[in-house]
Structures are given as C-alpha cells and as structure tokens.
C-alpha cells in the first residue's frame, strides 16, 4: 500500500535542480509528483517517478545523494473539507504528518495527497478502516 519516493540532497544554488531534471529526462523517467523543501543552505527534492530504481541509479551515478522513503498516497474528493476529513482521522489516531504534498489528477474529480507519516503502518490501517482509498505504488508510477 506504500509508495516509494526518492529524495535528493541539493545545495541551494543555481542549476542544481535543472541538473536533476536533465538526468531524469535523459533517462526517460517521468515525474508523477514532487515537492521541494528548502533551508537557506540546502534543499531536499522529493519525487515520485515512473521508475524509482532507474532514477535512483542514474542520479547516484551523477554524484547525487539519493534516499528512498515509503510514503502513502491517499485519494480525496476534490471539494471543500476533503483534506480535513483525512487529517481528522489521523489526528484522532495520534499520527503525525512529517510532510505532505498534493496534486489534482487530470479529468478526475479527486486529488491525490502524498503523506510522510511518523507511523506509516498505523496510518494506513486507520485510513483503510475509515474506507479511504489508498493508491498503490504501481498505479501511481504509471499514471
């Protein structure tokens, strides 16, 4: 039920992000979703891609530090209160969100929210009990 996300350490200077997307483009890897967290000195780029094994290998070969993390993708109605419903469940279950990012699907009435939890397995259980749709990794990679 988990989705594999790759994360890349980037120094906060011009050209570094472009280098990552160039490597992905050359290797014909599609980006499904992304978020960039930044500090004054460095940033962490988080990506869900069409082929994370290949992406990780290509980036590492080009000298990047790449990590892999399991995240959870949850489908939510694209309407007011959609995200709040999920967060209420998590909050009641004592699960903390480390970070999250969202995107809206083409030709669909739903959005997808990618979560990084402190207690991933517990969060999945809670959300499934409440009947929320968790999107499997393979579906997301091939969107």
């Amino acid at each position: 039920m988990k989705v594999e996300q790759i994360s890349i350490f980037l120094e906060n200077r011009a050209g570094r992000l472009e280098e990552v997307t160039r490597i992905l483009a050359e290797n014909k890897i599609s980006i499904r979703a992304l978020s960039l967290a930044d500090t004054s000195d460095f940033g962490i780029l988080r990506l869900i891609v069409s082929d994370h094994e290949k992406a990780k290998k290509a980036l590492k070969e080009n000298g990047f530090t790449v990590g892999r993390t399991s995240v959870v993708a949850v489908e939510v109605d694209d309407q007011p209160g959609g995200l709040n419903a999920i967060l209420q469940i998590l909050s009641a279950g004592g699960v903390n969100v480390e970070y999250m990012y969202a995107f809206v699907q083409q030709s669909s009435k739903t959005a997808i929210i990618v979560f990084r939890f402190d207690k991933t397995d517990q969060a999945i259980e809670l959300l499934q009990q409440k009947g929320l749709h968790i999107i499997p990794g393979d579906t997301l990679y091939n969107l």
């Binding site: 120094e11 967290a37 500090t39 962490i44 000298g63 990047f64 790449v66 993390t69 970070y99 990084r116």
Partner: protein, 434 residues
C-alpha cells in the same frame, strides 16, 4: 623602564654562562625524574654530562606536542604530584588535551616574567589593567593576572565575553592597559562606538595583544582607531603561557625572549637542522627553569626569525620576529587553537561519519569565523529537513563543547569538496586575503 634590570640587561657572555649552568641542571633533572626523557637520552646514547656547552643542545632530542598527549595527563611531570600547585590545559577532544603543571616557584617565575612584560609594554604599578584574556584552563587570563599583581598594578579580571559589560567597565573603571586578542580589541572598540564613544575618549594608552596571529597593518589600524600603543606578546601553554616574549614599547620591533628562562633555537622544520640568526624557521624552546614540567627543545610549530642585535631599549635579550605562520595545520580561531584532526574526530563521534569536510576560515568584520562544510552521503541523508538540521546542531554543539569555538556547519553535496592527489584539502583560510 625595565622590571628586572639585572636579568634583562645581562651582557651576552654572562647570559650564556647562566643559560649553560641552567641547561646542565635541567638535563640532570629530567634524566633523573622523567621516564620519557631518560629513555630518549638512552636511545641516543646521551648522558647529562655530555652537555658541556650551549652548542651541545643540538645533541638533545626534540619534544613534540604529541609527546605531551601521549603522556596525558601527568606523565611528563618532573616533580611529585603534591608539589604541583596549578594545572592548565589546552582544548582537545577527550583525552587529547595537552596538560601543563606548575610548582609554586613556576607560578612565581611566571608572574615575574609577566611583570617584565607589562613594564616592557610601557606599563607600571600605577596602571589599571583590563584583562580580557579568558580565565580558566587557558593560560592567558591567570598568566596576565598574576603578572599584574606582581607588578603592583590594579587588575580587572573581566575574562573573555560579555562585550557590552566590558565596554561599560572600560568606561567606568578607566583602565589604562587592556589585554586581549587583537581581534577582540577591535570588537570591543566597535561596541564602544555603538555605545557612543571611542577608545580615544578613554584613559587607555596601552594594548597587550596576543594568542592569535596578527599583522603590522592590523597594529597600525588598532593604534590609529584607539589612540594606544599596541604591543605584541607571545607565549604558549606547553612552555608556560603568555610572557615567553614581548615587544618593548621603545622599538616595537621583535619580541624580546626571556632568555634567562627560555633557550630558543630556530630550526628547519623539515630537517630539524638548527638555522643561524636571520633565517626564517620554526621556533624551538627549552625551558631552563621550569620545575613541574620542563621541556627539552619543544617544537612550537611557530615560524619566525631570531635576531640577536641589541635593542635600543637597553635589553640584551634576543628578539624574534612577530609570528609569521605555522609549520603544521593548526588554526587559531578567535584565540583558540584548533587542529583539523580534532574537528575530524568530533565529526566521527557525532554521527559515525567518515566524512569529507572542509574548514573555511574567514574574517567577518573583526572576528574570525569557522565554517565546516560536510558532504552529505547516504548514511547521513534524510528526506526530512529536521533530521539534517538536528545533525548540524549536534556538530555545532560538540565542537563548542570540546573545543570552545563556535562554528557554523554547512551541508554540501558529495564531491563538492575538492580532492587533490588523493589527499583532500582540509582548510581554506580566507583571512589572509583581504
């Protein structure tokens, strides 16, 4: 004025006769009481009786900082521990500090030598001395303190830090002499200006500056800004602390070495060969009178030039040029000695990293800054910002705790630190470029 007219103006012949007598007694003493030296002498087949002239000094082995570390903490004491009345130590990671012991007479001698220094700088018993050298294990604070009291001057033991309060005391107590690192004096001066006055408005007339390298340009800058005479002082804890040498205010041209207590040589740091006066090399010091922890031919790693030309101040003692650099990779950051190897072991202890790192030293305003660039490898990396920031914070804290220096840590991408010939370049010192 000269504090100890007899000793500071001894004719060269008499001085050298005294040095030889003291050297011979020293060699007897360390051979009898310090296992480390007995073994070293035996290995070279030297007996104390082989030292018949000052020229025989070159027969004796060198002592290195590492020897002090290897015998941590009290292994080089030449007297029973109960005769030691004071311990000082330099910063170091656990177990790696260099420790120095003093007997009662060592402390007394040190005070007398520092009193000589104050007088050489132009001070007298009438002066009020603002002592901003750090008190504690560092030798600066207490060294100057005892010297000022020996002289009969008034000492204000303010120690380092607390800039705003220092500025207030400089105004309220009206000190005439200030002791600090040269860069901290500039910081204090800036803070005074922010508070609406200049050092020129105060009674200050002499600054005694040491514990870090500075230049002739910096001296002129300080003198112009502050309206004082700026004097360079030299010392190192392994030998005693401040007071090994000082400039006289008459000439401000080279530091007079207290030669009746310290025998100095200049050597080629590569070959160990003794160089004649006038040639640049590493300063090597033998402590002639130290009781608790005498050192034979201690390699200071400081680069200078020896000058035996008599000085117009009347002192007959040899002078050394203001320190011109180091023959090792030691950095001096705001008066604190830092070796890259210490930083490396802290990085290893902090996260179990075998890191590629670069130490970037800059001078921002008047203060040295140390930035440690650490390459982020997969072991260190996390997808969460807070984890990386926690690591940065932990490194900063450990460096502060172990070394007493505030550093900044900057995480950088792998391979962004230059590798050269397999040996990484560890230091980028930008202070020398303006």
């Amino acid at each position: 004025m000269i504090f100890d007219v007899e000793m500071e103006t001894l004719p060269r012949e008499d001085l050298e006769a005294l040095q030889l007598k003291r050297l011979q007694a020293l060699v007897e003493r360390v051979y009898a009481n310090v296992g480390f030296y007995r073994q070293k002498f035996d290995e070279r087949g030297i007996k104390p009786s082989d030292i018949r002239s000052l020229a025989d000094l070159k027969l004796l082995p060198f002592t290195e900082k590492q020897d002090l570390r290897n015998h941590y903490p009290f292994g080089l004491f030449a007297v029973p521990k109960e005769n030691v009345v004071r311990i000082h130590a330099s910063s170091g990671t656990t177990g790696k500090s260099t420790v120095v012991g003093y007997t009662h007479r060592d402390v007394r001698n040190w005070a007398k030598l520092m009193a000589r220094c104050f007088v050489a700088s132009g001070a007298s018993a009438k002066d009020i001395i603002h002592n901003a050298y750090g008190y504690g294990l560092f030798t600066g604070g207490l060294g100057a303190h005892y010297g000022a009291e020996e002289l009969g001057a008034t000492i204000v033991p303010v120690s380092g830090g607390g800039t705003k309060r220092q500025v207030m005391l400089l105004k309220d107590f009206g000190p005439t002499v200030i002791c600090s690192t040269p860069s901290y004096a500039l910081v204090l001066h800036e803070a005074a200006q922010e508070a609406g006055f200049s050092f020129k408005d105060l009674d200050l007339r002499i600054g005694i500056f040491g514990a870090e390298p500075w230049t002739e340009e910096m001296r002129r800058d300080i003198e112009d800004k502050m309206g004082i005479t700026a004097i360079d002082i030299y010392g190192l804890s392994e030998i005693m602390g401040p007071g090994v040498g000082i400039e006289c205010h008459n000439a401000q041209n080279g530091l007079h070495i207290m030669e009746d207590h310290f025998l100095v040589e200049i050597i080629d740091p590569e070959t160990g060969e003794v160089l004649p006066p006038g040639e640049q090399g590493e300063l090597v010091i033998t402590t002639l009178t130290k009781e608790a922890q005498p050192l034979i031919r201690y390699r200071t790693r400081d680069i200078t030039i020896l000058n035996k030309v008599p000085c117009r101040c009347g002192r007959t003692t040899a002078r050394v040029h203001r320190m011109m650099g180091r023959s090792d990779d030691m950095l001096i950051i705001r008066g604190v000695n830092v070796f890259p190897s210490q930083i490396e072991s802290i990085l290893l202890e902090t996260e179990g990293l075998a890191p590629h790192y670069l130490l970037v030293v800059k001078r921002e305003g008047n203060l040295d800054t140390l930035e440690i660039q650490v390459e982020v490898d997969e072991k260190l990396f996390s997808d969460e910002i807070k984890v990386l920031q926690r690591i940065e914070g932990k490194i900063v804290k450990n460096i502060k705790d172990y070394l007493g220096v505030t550093a900044m840590v900057k995480l950088v991408e792998p391979r962004s630190i230059q590798r050269s010939e397999g040996k990484a370049k560890r230091i980028l010192d930008l202070r020398k470029q303006n």
